[in-house]
Symmetry: C2
Subunit: 184 residues, 2 copies
C-alpha cells in the first residue's frame, strides 16, 4: 500500500496513537487502513463413502485436487460462502451442511472454515475446475492435493466422520513444510 | 474507496473480467481491490459458575457490557486473537480454551469466533474497559449487553456448557432487531 484509498495521499507504515502495531496511516487525512485475515469457506461433500474433489483450473496449484472452497465475500454467512463455492467450482448442491472445522493459517493470514454435508444431484466442473469427481478413501489422490488443509480435512473426515468440530492451526517452516497443531 | 492504494489512480466500482460481482478496480493499473469480511475473536472466561464481562470504555456501545473480543490481526490464529483480546481488555489469562461458536453477521460482514476457557489468576480493566467483573447467570446485566452475539453466547453457555461447538448466523431487520438462526 502506497496511497490512501480515501484521499489519494501518501501513507506511512507506523503505529497510530492508542494502538500497538504498525498500520498504513494517511499523511494527508490521517485515515488508518487496517489489514486483516481473510476467511476461506469450503465443504466436504459426501455421497455414501465417496467425497467430491475438484481439480484446479487456476493458479495457485493448477492441476492439483482440492475440496471446493474459496474466499468468503462481504454480505454472506460462512455457510452461504461454502455453498456458493461448491456451486461455482463443481455445480454441486449440498444438504445438511454442518460446521466441520476451523483452521488458522497465520503465515498467510487466512482462516479456513470447512463444512461437511451430503452431495445432492448431479455435479460438473465449474470455470475454476478442470474436472470434478467422487473418490473413496483409497482412491483419494493424496500426493496430488493442492493444499495441506485439504489433506488434513480429508484425514479428519475419514477418521472421525462428523462426530466433532475440529479446531487447529497450521505452521509452515522455511522449507515450506507444513504441520498441523491441535490446541495452542 | 476512491483511489488505488497501489498507484494512486482513480477506481471504478465494476465487475472485473472473469468475475461476477462488483469490485473496486483501478482505472490506471487495473489492480482489483477485494473487500472481505472481518473476524472478531473472543472468549467466555469462567471461574466456577461465574463469567468474566467487561464494560466498554470505547464506542460503539460505550458503557455497555461485553465479552472480551476484538478484530483478529494478520499473522495470528483465531485462538491467539481471542487470548490477546482477553489480555488487552481485561488483563485476563485463560487455560483450556476450546472453540465455542462461529457466528456470522452478514449485515456487517463480520464473523465472530468465540472460545470458552477457565480464567486464571487476577484480572483488571484494560484501556478499552471501564470495569471488569465476574457474574453468575442471575447477575448478568442482560439489558445492558453491548451486542446481540454477547447475549446469545452467554445463553448458549449457560444452557449447554462446552458440550458442543455452536454454528449460527444473525439477521437484522430495518428496526435493527436481531434474530439468531441455527442452520440455513
Amino acid at each position: 500500500m502506497k496511497y490512501c484509498s480515501l484521499c489519494g495521499g501518501t501513507v506511512d507504515f507506523r503505529i497510530p496513537d492508542k494502538d500497538n502495531r504498525e498500520r498504513f496511516v494517511c499523511n494527508n487525512c490521517d485515515a488508518i487502513h487496517y489489514q486483516n485475515p481473510n476467511n476461506v469457506c469450503g465443504a466436504i461433500l459426501t455421497r455414501g463413502d465417496q467425497v467430491l474433489l475438484c481439480r484446479r483450473a487456476i493458479e495457485p496449484r493448477y492441476g492439483f485436487w482440492t475440496l471446493p472452497a474459496g474466499f468468503m465475500e462481504n454480505g454472506e454467512t460462512v455457510e452461504q460462502a461454502a455453498r456458493r463455492e461448491a456451486i461455482e467450482e463443481a455445480n454441486a448442491e449440498a444438504a445438511g451442511l454442518q460446521l466441520f472445522g476451523v483452521f488458522s493459517m497465520p503465515y498467510i493470514s487466512q482462516v479456513y472454515l470447512m463444512f461437511c454435508g451430503e452431495l445432492i444431484g448431479d455435479f460438473s466442473p465449474g470455470d475454476e475446475s478442470l474436472e470434478v469427481g467422487l473418490f473413496r478413501q483409497d482412491e483419494i489422490p493424496w500426493s496430488e492435493l493442492a493444499f495441506p488443509v485439504v489433506g488434513c480435512s480429508l484425514e479428519l473426515y475419514f477418521k472421525h466422520g462428523t462426530s466433532q468440530v475440529h479446531h487447529a492451526w497450521f505452521s509452515r517452516d522455511q522449507q515450506r513444510n507444513h504441520s498441523i497443531h491441535f490446541g495452542d
